[in-house]
Symmetry: C2
Subunit: 330 residues, 2 copies
């Protein structure tokens, strides 16, 4: 079931849009997990419409990560796998094809009932499963639970949806605990840190309930903060991707660092990787790009990489107890 065959790429709708708009040059952008389907989908669309297809070969990690260059070269760019972000207006010719999963969630939600301890259950998921949240709610309610599906801020397209950089839908209403429908660990970790509540993972692909343990990531973050306490030169990373660019925050952090008698350089880049930062000789990095980077790639950079909230702890502007995941909110 984890195979991408179980996802709906909406080819018929895409062909209709191309015909309706008379698009002759069409771009296709896929996140990494769907790129292996690119050639077949391109062939199908080209056969049906006769349009010239350009496939984006660039990495793609979210709706924040539109291939703006490709969007400028084509009549329409179809961006697969993510829901629109509120700030996507920079590319008017981008269509978001959300690629909903066909995975059944009833079984795993039923299975979760014996592990749920609270009364008010917050339901959270990624865009691939948002269309199944109503069914999940009904199961919870039929077993006497209160089901909470929070609206979230303007970056969130659907109630109950969370992004790797935005857990606002989990904070809309107070809950006793959360049930995350999906397979990854990052989104539920963000919710746990952001709300201080227990999060259960209901993985519909393997029909498994997993209890989330955030102690390992908290230890890692403490180590990164500890290693940065003596830093005197920071490299503040700013990403040029439209949905990740936080230059104002970077300038604010640079000022804050200098106020503390230390110094910082601003490094502007598209794709942030450990390899690409290897040549920059600083004592610590501060990442204002995708908040996941510092967490997912921990230990792989040549200097400790802090998130903006962690920098404030390093500088003594905030307390260790205030540690949360970095978010890009509306």
């Amino acid at each position: 079931m984890a195979d991408s065959e179980a996802f709906d790429f909406q080819i018929a709708r895409i062909i209709d849009v191309i015909r309706d708009t008379n698009a002759t040059v069409v771009g296709l952008q896929f996140p990494e997990g769907f790129k292996r389907r690119a050639s077949g989908i391109a062939h199908e669309i080209e056969e049906a419409t006769g349009s010239q297809i350009l496939i984006s070969g660039n990495p793609c990690f979210g709706a924040c990560d539109i291939d703006v260059d490709l969007a400028h070269r084509v009549d329409i760019l179809f961006h697969f796998g993510h829901a629109v972000l509120d700030d996507s207006s920079y590319a008017q010719n981008v269509y978001f094809i959300e690629v909903r999963s066909n995975a059944e969630i009833e079984k795993v939600v039923n299975k979760s009932l014996k592990n749920l301890e609270g009364q008010r259950i917050g339901l959270i998921t990624t865009v691939q499963h948002v269309h199944k949240l109503q069914a999940a709610c009904e199961i919870l309610r039929s077993h006497g639970k209160v089901c909470v599906v929070g609206k979230g801020d303007a970056k969130i397209a659907y109630p109950g949806q969370v992004l790797g950089c935005n857990f606002s839908s989990a904070r809309t209403e107070p809950c006793d605990e959360y049930l995350y429908i999906g397979s990854g660990y990052f989104h539920p970790m963000g919710v746990a840190l952001s709300t201080g509540r227990r999060v259960l993972i209901a993985d519909p692909f393997v029909n498994e309930i997993r209890e989330l343990d955030i102690s390992k990531v908290l230890k890692q973050r403490s180590a990164v903060i500890g290693k940065s306490l003596d830093a005197t030169l920071f490299g503040i990373i700013v990403c040029s991707k439209p949905g990740q660019e936080r230059m104002q925050l970077a300038l604010k952090l640079q000022n804050m660092i200098r106020k503390h008698g230390k110094d910082a350089r601003i490094i502007m880049m598209d794709l942030v990787t450990p390899d690409q930062l290897l040549q920059f000789k600083v004592d610590a990095f501060v990442n204002t790009a995708c908040p996941r980077l510092a967490i997912d790639e921990v230990g792989r950079f040549n200097a400790p990489m802090l998130t903006p909230p962690e920098l404030e702890i390093v500088l003594g502007e905030k307390k260790w107890e205030d540690l949360v995941f970095d978010e890009i909110t509306a």
Copy 2:
């Protein structure tokens, strides 16, 4: 001597330009080998001018590879290590700081005399040493040789300069053999393949003369061509970097492939790496981006990667004897 301390970053000139133009936001872009100097140079410029400095963290492989996004965000972008290309007009606020090497070349040129066999010697080098070609010529002439320093096409800023994708200065006038001043292998290999002549490498950093042997790279290219003979689906790579974008060539190759009853998809990307192409399931790639990629990264892609001239051999449009390096000429 190979240390970058031996290079001239023209800091005083940069400070003058910033003061003269009243630039308040300044971008700095370095090729990989100079990135470790970025923080120190940024500090020096900021101290002297008070301008806000943004350092490009993106990979940079040539004058073809301007950080256009950064250029749009700053008043002036200083691009280090490369001479201007003729088609750099897309970014009017880019200053090229060529970073000349202070390495002495007299000794190694004198040393080369006993290895030179011909009479008319073509002198070639990269931009780091072009200011030393006159001195090299005088040494050759004083020993009875004829010294040829070809002008090259419009992509070439200085007589005798070669790029990794342009050996036109070596073809300007016929020579018996070539003397390449520099440390790498790629540029002299391109000259050898492009002219069919012997090329000697005079490496001023280690004071060593090396005879170029192109047999290994020819064997590798033959293997890549051989492995692609049965390919039915090609992935044609087009780079979005302004100095590397060859969409018209890609479309021509796609048509040519289809004329032969095979098929091709066009993949558009910024940074071309083996990792980033891993998910694309094709029988062979054709690279219209930086010509070095197919050569330098041979065997590291998940399918054989051809250059455009090699594709023509695969399709039977050209003969194996016609094999040359791919070039981006004016």
